[in-house]
Symmetry: C2
Subunit: 297 residues, 2 copies
């Protein structure tokens, strides 16, 4: 087991390098005019992060096609998109978080005005990156379409919205599900969808992988909420105990930690069963899914 975890760690690091090099090549240098915006963008993008969404996309792609660097701009776009959501989330208007990825949040260093613009810029940059990929036009437009739908006013933003409305209120499991599905699930789903679209996976495979994504997405959010209670701020790289203080809608708050952990375990078990069909090829996806249950950061 320990050996497998090392394997996963090595592979995550390897793919992370690929994605980082791609983004570094693509983004303006931090001393490009106007400097502050480019510094802010690079600060948030390269403050750390495991590049899990690009990782998911790359391994989903590899289930159905041979790896090629042509897909890396799209993988980078997922990370830029994710970073845009983190920057805007951390702003005083929304979650008012001072730490992210173990470093001071963008708005703490550069001010809220520049952080706001840096988020906007990263969102646009993500779409530019997709557009720049050497990929068939039809697929590219489909990727951009799903990008906008999943992250827009009926996707990720809807999740944010309901999360904001629910603070301090007693809410049902249905609403907690809605928030998780949209806030966390959408991006994970998107990563898997992009992998399937780029590799031209069959309708059946897309369906299976979508269900895989839903399961690990929900498990990831449950474990994230548990880490907010039990985790260590230094290891985690972001503030903890906030959900409780702000009476946020979470699973542990609703069902208790033990029941929540059981639910997460069951979800991951189901997710891994879905991968059986792909044999050896899916080993990293399976390791990643299992890692969700044991991660400390």
């Amino acid at each position: 087991m320990k050996q497998k975890r090392m394997m996963l760690k090595r592979d995550i690091k390897e793919k992370k390098e690929l994605v980082n090099i791609e983004m570094d090549r693509f983004l303006p240098r931090k001393d490009e005019y106007p400097k502050q915006i480019h510094k802010a963008i690079r600060h948030s993008l390269f403050a750390g992060g495991k590049r899990i969404r690009p990782y998911l996309m790359i391994h989903t792609y590899q289930l159905f096609a041979k790896m090629t660097p042509k897909i890396l701009p799209v993988a980078g776009a997922l990370e830029m998109l994710h970073t845009y959501t983190l920057i805007h989330d951390d702003l005083p208007e929304i979650d008012n978080d001072d730490y992210r990825r173990g470093k001071r949040a963008c708005h703490i260093i550069y001010g809220s005005n520049i952080a706001l613009l840096a988020g906007d810029a990263l969102l646009l940059y993500a779409i530019e990156a997709i557009n720049s990929a050497e990929v068939n036009d039809k697929i590219k437009l489909q990727i951009i379409r799903e990008f906008c739908e999943e992250t827009g006013h009926l996707g990720l933003i809807a999740g944010q919205m309901v999360d904001i409305e629910s603070e301090g209120k007693k809410i049902s499991e249905k609403v907690v599900n809605y928030i998780h599905k949209n806030k966390t699930g959408r991006l994970i789903n998107l990563a898997i969808r992009f992998g399937c679209l780029l590799s031209k996976a069959s309708e059946v495979d897309r369906e299976i992988m979508q269900r895989f994504g839903e399961k690990i997405g929900l498990a990831f959010q449950i474990m994230d909420d548990i880490l907010d209670i039990e985790g260590d701020q230094n290891t985690l790289g972001k503030s903890t105990g906030k959900d409780e203080r702000e009476k946020k809608a979470t699973y542990p708050a609703l069902a208790g930690i033990e029941k929540s952990r059981e639910k997460a375990e069951k979800l991951i078990e189901g997710a891994c069963q879905l991968l059986d069909k792909y044999g050896e090829k899916a080993q990293y996806l399976e390791l990643l899914a299992r890692f969700i249950l044991t991660r400390k950061f």
Copy 2:
């Protein structure tokens, strides 16, 4: 002259209706879940506004091709894009403006958190609208590419950034030019580019129209700055006197009102000469250009 102004007014109203109907059809109803975000989006989008950018696009298109409703989603995208910039600009972080288009700004009614999300959502929605248009894939991707470039970290956002950095500082004409070119010019340029791309205008015509756009864009910004000093808040629908109070970088502050007005007049004269080639077809673009010098709102 008065008759011509009436003609222009009627035509602006007519095109505005077309664009409004298109956007209304495209956007979720304001009672769609989650309600607050959809209310906020609609509030800002339909608070007024002359739809000048869609108007410019439509008339540029008509110079080179026969009008078709197929281009309306792209026209609507320009207005959604413009509205996203207004919502984020008005936030306390940036310009801290309470009024917009004669109504209370988005964040005043819905709070800064929802206004932030409404801006993000509109940006994504604009790209969705472009994607939905029944237009050739190559042209669509080119439009999305230019959309991201012109509004991103080296375009509109760069203009915002330098504007923020310049507040309260003594700055050169070069910097004022940079801010204007990027903050106002980019969107006007984009409207004209979209009209050219959609109508498959020749390289020569694109060049001419781009120069037309640069001239009216700069004139528009100069007159906007003059209106901030001389204009009436009620007629204008937004706060006045802010530039002076906040020591903003403007032409009138740099060169005085009279010299600024002369510069704007010269720019519009040059812009109209560029249209000579297109004869009667360009009459509304010419009227619009001349209207920039006399507008009170």
